[in-house]
C-alpha cells in the first residue's frame, strides 16, 4: 500500500513538475524562486497525499496550494527582493526583439500586485475558467474578473508606454 502510494506520488510529481514550474516562474519572475515555490507546493501535497485521494481533485489542491504559498510568501516580503518602483538607471535594450519582449513582459508582471499577477497567470497562462481561478485564489468569481481585468489594463498601459518610447527613440535616433 505504502509503495503504491510512493509510486503514485512520484508519478504525479514527474507529471506536474514542469507545468507548475512554468506557472511559478510567471508568478515569481525568477527560476530559482519558482523552483522553491513548486517544491514547497509539492511537498505540502505529498504530506497530505493519502487524504487527497479520498477527497477533492489533486490538481485543484495543488493549484490552490501554489497560489496560497506564493501569496503568503509575498505577504511576508522577506522572501522577496524589494523591487524599486522606478529604475534608477535606464535598462539596456536586448539585442533581439523576442528577448526584449520577454524581458518587457517579465518586468511588467513584476510590477503587478501579487493577486493581480496570480489572476493574470491563472486566467491567461494556466487557462483556468473564472470559477476555477476563483477556487484557486480563494475568492469570488467577481473578484477574479476584477483582478484579471485590472492586471490586463496595467499590462496594456505599459505596452503603450513602451511603444511610445520606442517610436520616440527611432524618431530621434
Amino acid at each position: 500500500m505504502r509503495s503504491q502510494d510512493d509510486e503514485g506520488v512520484t508519478a504525479f510529481v514527474r507529471a506536474s513538475y514542469g507545468r507548475l514550474l512554468r506557472e511559478a516562474f510567471l508568478l515569481c519572475g525568477d527560476a530559482g524562486r519558482a523552483e522553491d515555490l513548486v517544491q514547497t507546493t509539492l511537498a505540502k501535497t505529498v504530506v497530505v497525499w493519502s487524504r487527497l485521494q479520498r477527497s477533492e481533485g489533486i490538481d485543484n489542491y495543488v493549484q490552490r496550494t501554489l497560489i496560497n504559498t506564493y501569496l503568503s510568501a509575498r505577504r511576508r516580503r522577506a522572501w522577496w527582493e524589494q523591487p524599486f518602483s522606478r529604475l534608477v538607471e535606464r535598462q539596456a535594450r536586448d539585442e533581439y526583439v523576442g528577448v526584449e519582449q520577454r524581458d518587457w513582459l517579465r518586468r511588467a508582471l513584476d510590477a503587478l500586485p501579487a493577486r493581480q499577477r496570480a489572476a493574470v497567470v491563472l486566467r491567461f497562462y494556466a487557462d483556468l475558467s473564472e470559477q476555477d481561478a476563483a477556487l484557486a485564489l480563494g475568492c469570488s468569481v467577481g473578484t477574479v474578473k476584477s483582478l484579471s481585468s485590472r492586471g490586463l489594463r496595467t499590462l496594456r498601459q505599459r505596452w503603450v508606454e513602451v511603444d511610445a518610447t520606442a517610436e520616440h527613440e527611432v524618431r530621434y535616433a
Binding site: 514542469g18 516562474f25 517544491q39 520577454r102 513582459l105
Partner: protein, 430 residues
C-alpha cells in the same frame, strides 16, 4: 499587446524556456519528509501545551476530583477534633464547674473543649465540652449564657459523646438556650442552632424548613466550622438541616457538600423526637416501628423535616409499633394557624387533600394568600408557638368572605420512610 490571445502567447513564450533541473523528485520528497517531521514536532508541542494549559486550568479553576474529607483519628472515646478558634481557658473552667454542679455526673475529668468563646452577639458565651463523668462515660455538653442572670453560664444539654469515627457534626437546636435552664426564650426569634463541624469542613450551613428559602444560609458565605444561627420559635431540631461544605484550596473552586444531617435537640425541657421506621402504609395511615415506644402516646405528632406527617392514633407497646393517621386522612383534624399572620382556624383531612377551615369572618379581615404556611401546635410543647409544625401551604388565595382554604401538604406522604414522633421531654404524657 492588444488582445488576450497575444498575451497568452507571450506568457507561454516567457515560461517556455524554464526547464526542471535534474533530481527535482528527490528534492520534493526530502522536503516533504522535513515538512512532515516539522508538523509532527509542532503537533506534539501543541499537544503538550494544551495538556499543560488544561492541567493548570483544572488546578486553578477548581475542576477535578471532589475533595475528600479525612476524619481526624478518635481521641479514645472522644472526637479527636481540634477546637474552633481561640479557646477561652476561663470559660472552659467556668463551664466545667457548671457541668460538675449541674447533676449527678460530676466531677468531670479529662475535659476538652471544642468551643469556648465569649462575644457580644446572640448567645454571648458558648462552650462545647467533652469529658468523662464520674462513672467514666464519655459525655458531650453544651453551655450558653443566661441573659436573665447576668449572662451566667448554663448547662443546656448533656448527652453521651457521639461516635468518634463516623460523626461529622455535632449540634444543638433549641428554643431554650438564652434564659434559665428549661425556660423557653421570650424572643419570637429565640430558637438557636449551634453546630460544630469536623476539621476540614470550611463552611457549615444551617437551614430550616420553617422559614422561606431566601432566608436559608448561603453556603458560599464566609463562615467557619462553627455556626450559631437564630430561628423563629417554631423551629425545632426536626425541621433543621445542617450541611457541611468543603472548598478546595483553588481560587475558583466551588463548594462541595460533604454531609447533610438533621439537627440534634435535647436541651433540658425540649420535646424529644423519637425516631420511627415505616413498616406499613396505606393511603390513610402508616405504621411505624419505634424502639422507644414507651415515650409514645396517642395524639402526638409525627413529623419529618418538611413538616407534619400525621398524628398517632394507636400505640401497640408489645409490638413496638404506632399507627399514624396521615394529615390527608378523614380522621385527621386539629387546630392550626397561618405562620406570621396568625390567622386562626383548624385543619382537616378530606381523604385526598387538606383543608384549613373555621377561619374567622366578620369585621376584621383575615387574608390568606397562596403559598402561606399553615402550622399546627405541638401538644408536647409548652405553647402554640414553640415547635409548631408546618402542615401545609395555601393552594390559593382565600376569598374575603370565605372561612376555608385548601392546603397542599408540605410532606410527600407517599414517600415517607422514617418519622420523628414528638414526645414530652420527660418521656411521659404531654
Amino acid at each position: 499587446m492588444h488582445s488576450q490571445t497575444e498575451l497568452r502567447d507571450r506568457l507561454a513564450a516567457l515560461a517556455e524556456p524554464v526547464k526542471p533541473v535534474e533530481g527535482y523528485v528527490d528534492k520534493v520528497m526530502r522536503r516533504s519528509r522535513r515538512l512532515r517531521r516539522r508538523r509532527r514536532v509542532t503537533a506534539g508541542a501543541a499537544a503538550a501545551v494544551c495538556v499543560a494549559v488544561l492541567v493548570s486550568m483544572f488546578r486553578v479553576v477548581g475542576f477535578g476530583s471532589a475533595p475528600q474529607l479525612a476524619a481526624p483519628p478518635p481521641d479514645g472515646p472522644f472526637l479527636g477534633w481540634s477546637a474552633v478558634g481561640d479557646v477561652d481557658a476561663g470559660l472552659v473552667q467556668e463551664a466545667t464547674d457548671v457541668w460538675d454542679a449541674a447533676g449527678t455526673g460530676g466531677p468531670h475529668t479529662a475535659v476538652r473543649a471544642f468551643v469556648a468563646m465569649r462575644n457580644d452577639q446572640q448567645l454571648h458565651s458558648i462552650a462545647v465540652l467533652q469529658g468523662y463523668d464520674k462513672q467514666g462515660a464519655a459525655r458531650l455538653a453544651f453551655f450558653t449564657s443566661d441573659v436573665s442572670a447576668a449572662k451566667a453560664l448554663r448547662l443546656r444539654a448533656d448527652r453521651p459523646a457521639p461516635d468518634p469515627v463516623t460523626t461529622q457534626v455535632i449540634s444543638l437546636v433549641s428554643p431554650r438556650l438564652t434564659g434559665p435552664v428549661g425556660a423557653v426564650s421570650t424572643d419570637d426569634f429565640g430558637t438557636y442552632a449551634i453546630a460544630v463541624a469536623m476539621p476540614g469542613v470550611t463552611t457549615v450551613r444551617v437551614s430550616n424548613t420553617v422559614i422561606d428559602d431566601e432566608m436559608i444560609g448561603d453556603p458560599d458565605a464566609p463562615t467557619s466550622r462553627l455556626v450559631v444561627q437564630g430561628f423563629p420559635l417554631i423551629a425545632t431540631a426536626q425541621s433543621t438541616t445542617i450541611s457541611g461544605f468543603v472548598k478546595p484550596n483553588r481560587p475558583l473552586a466551588k463548594m462541595t457538600k460533604v454531609f447533610e444531617v438533621l439537627g440534634d435537640g435535647g436541651a433540658d425541657g425540649d420535646a424529644r423526637g423519637v425516631p420511627g421506621k415505616v413498616v406499613a402504609a396505606t393511603g390513610k395511615q402508616i405504621v411505624v416501628a419505634v424502639q422507644q415506644i414507651q415515650a409514645v402516646r396517642r395524639g402526638q405528632l409525627a413529623v419529618v423535616t418538611e413538616g407534619l406527617v400525621g398524628r398517632v392514633t394507636t400505640v401497640d407497646v408489645p409490638r413496638g409499633e404506632a399507627t399514624i393517621d396521615l394529615v390527608t386522612s378523614t380522621g385527621f383534624a386539629g387546630p392550626a394557624y397561618t405562620n406570621i399572620s396568625d390567622v386562626p382556624g383548624s385543619v382537616r383531612g378530606t381523604g385526598t387533600s387538606l383543608v384549613m377551615e373555621r377561619m374567622p369572618t366578620g369585621d376584621k379581615v383575615y387574608t390568606v394568600h397562596v403559598g402561606n404556611r399553615v402550622v399546627m401546635p405541638d401538644p408536647c410543647q409548652p405553647n402554640d408557638q414553640v415547635g409548631a409544625v408546618t402542615v401545609g401551604r395555601a393552594s390559593s388565595d382565600k376569598a374575603l368572605e370565605a372561612s376555608s382554604v385548601e392546603l397542599t401538604p408540605t410532606v410527600d406522604l407517599t414517600h415517607v420512610r422514617e418519622v420523628s414522633i414528638m414526645t414530652s421531654s420527660t418521656g411521659g404524657d404531654c
